[in-house]
Amino acid sequence: MAALTKAREGREMTEIGFLTDLGAVAFTDGVRVVRDTKLLGRCMTYARGLDALIVGHPQDPSLSHGAAATSGKFASLYGIPAVSPMAEVMGLDRDLALVAMTRGRYHADQITVAASLPALARARDAGLDVTAGISIHHLTLNEFDVGDYRTFFRFTPPLRSEDDRLSMVDAVAQGLIDTIASFHTPQDEESKRLPFEAAAPGAVGLQTLLPAALRLYHQGGLTLPQLFRAMALNPARRLDLSAGRLSDGAPADLVLFDPDAPFVLDRFALLSKSKNTPFDGARMQGRVLGTWVAGTPVFGDHA
């Protein structure tokens, strides 16, 4: 993925054509919302001519500025600056209106509250080229997990209510939310050893993506085929990659795993240099036994 605007400053679009020629599969400013609606509309219009996908972060930036939690009783009691879930709905409404105006290709990076779902469903029904994703953390954790200001549970957007989490699991099952991603965000120890609202958001997620997702399978929220679609098939399709399926001519990118193998996660045993996982000490199930890239074993006993 490449930046959507130069230096992600939201002022000028990047060279979407050149970047596409060089292999960029999507364009995004990440969690920096493009505030200038006219500019975002032009990006969509321009990108449409190149069939380029734009990934947006649906969030009203003036509402979410400075927020570290979702507004509600928990955030109020702990005195954490908070944002209403409606900030996501507003951001999504704006982006979807622009998609209707420009007919661009659009993916919402994280849809995390139930209140966003009707707008998403309407856009689909209207035939707009819109998909949506969610992070594994918003599917498996909720706002109360922050507990006593645990900074490894600070995310952008912040963790949501349990009702919203359950709605999101259901939306993945229904196919309204297309993709589940790790939103792997390494942070050094110092950035997390701060008061909650001053700490850096995000968690490492690559190595815990599978066992965390299998929690949803073991709890009965999602089936293995539903997880496969959200984690492999749909992302590959959306990015026009030939991976994510078993078929003639497709690359043999494979993973062999035992969905039941139990273990207790020790964050210091993670291979990532950063150890900022919310699952430290968590009991998990699911172990990768082997990984192949284009048919070559790269991990496990076969490597």
């Binding site: 500025h65 507004s71 955030a75 702990y78 005195g79 200001y149 050893r193 701060l194 609202e197």
Partner: protein
């Protein structure tokens, strides 16, 4: 004494009997403080450091006085507001101070949870003197003592907390304490200054101050926290005073013997009419300041006892 905690970080984790024993001991210190010779040796030989990352007048002064009256060596660390921007300062400063072997650390910080974080890193007892919008436990305790002395009880009272609830740690700690003691709590203020989710906290909400003040036993005013506001919460101070400022006319709706409280510092003419604040028949604002010293002496004393007890269990060869 039933107060067993190692730190005093908030009211939330205190049980009602712990609150009562803190207040009972505070009464002894009120008596002591009214004598000419105000010394006790409860903290003799101990070191107390006051670390204020945010401005304070009464809290810092009363903690200093409390420590000195109990015989501790008290040091005030002036931590410049500007050097706090990077949080490393907080933990680094804490570790540096910890190496100087203090026994009691009193901390105020602009971020919610910062004092909890610091308490994890040090060996001494930590008192939260206010963290962001989270808690200010000694303020709630001194308010409780003031109410108990003025009303003769701390239960079954109707208490109105008025004004900028959203930005106030004083409101949070008081809500929790007065709720634990089974009082009826009303929150009065414009909806922009109410935190989300308060409706689920077992309180009554009023946007009409006259309605909310009807028959209350205690009127607790809060300071409009202009420094914590990042946008327009109210149209003007003039309109705020008109709708939510405590004046004689609005106060007349409360119970005839209702008391008026304010944690300070006051914005006269914004949330409270100066003549009400100065009315010795209604206002207990100066009593609150007096109780503040006594409550802080009690808190320091009890934490010091617990500290000695825990060191007695673990340290060998201590005199």
């Amino acid at each position: 004494m039933s107060f067993r905690a190692r730190h005093l970080l908030g009211i939330d984790h205190l049980k009602p009997d712990e609150i009562v024993s803190l207040l009972d001991l505070s009464e002894d210190y009120v008596t002591l403080n009214r004598r000419t010779v105000k010394h006790s040796d409860a903290l003799a030989g101990m070191t107390q450091i006051n670390m204020f990352f945010e401005n304070s007048t009464r809290t810092q002064a009363s903690f200093e006085l409390a420590g000195k009256r109990l015989g501790a060596d008290v040091m005030n660390m002036a931590v410049a507001q500007s050097s706090v921007k990077k949080g490393e300062t907080l933990i680094d400063t804490a570790l540096t101070l910890n190496a100087m072997q203090p026994d009691l650390l009193v901390v105020r910080h602009p971020h919610s949870g910062a004092v909890n974080l610091l308490a994890e890193k040090v060996n001494c007892a930590v008192i939260n003197a206010g963290d962001g919008r989270h808690e200010h436990p000694t303020q709630a305790l001194l308010d409780a003592l003031t109410i108990r002395r003025a009303k003769g009880r701390l239960q079954r009272l109707t208490i109105a907390i008025c004004g900028d609830i959203a930005h106030s740690r004083v409101a949070r700690s008081n809500l929790i304490l007065l709720g634990k003691m089974e009082n009826r709590i009303r929150l009065i203020g414009p909806a922009t200054l109410m935190p989300a989710g308060v409706a689920d906290m077992g309180v009554e909400l009023f946007e009409d101050m006259r309605e909310g003040l009807k028959g209350v036993d205690v009127v607790m005013m809060l300071r409009l926290q202009k420094e914590r506001m990042d946008g327009g919460f109210i149209p003007s101070e003039r309109e705020y005073f008109h709708r939510f400022g405590l004046d004689a006319e609005k106060l007349a709706l409360a119970a005839p013997d209702a008391i008026v409280m304010h944690p300070g510092p006051m914005n006269r003419g914004v949330e409270i009419d100066g003549t009400i604040a100065d009315d010795i028949n209604r206002s207990v604002i100066q009593d609150q300041v007096e109780m503040g010293v006594a409550v802080r002496m009690a808190a320091l004393d009890l934490l010091a006892r617990n500290l000695r007890a825990s060191r007695g269990r673990t340290a060998v060869g201590e005199p």
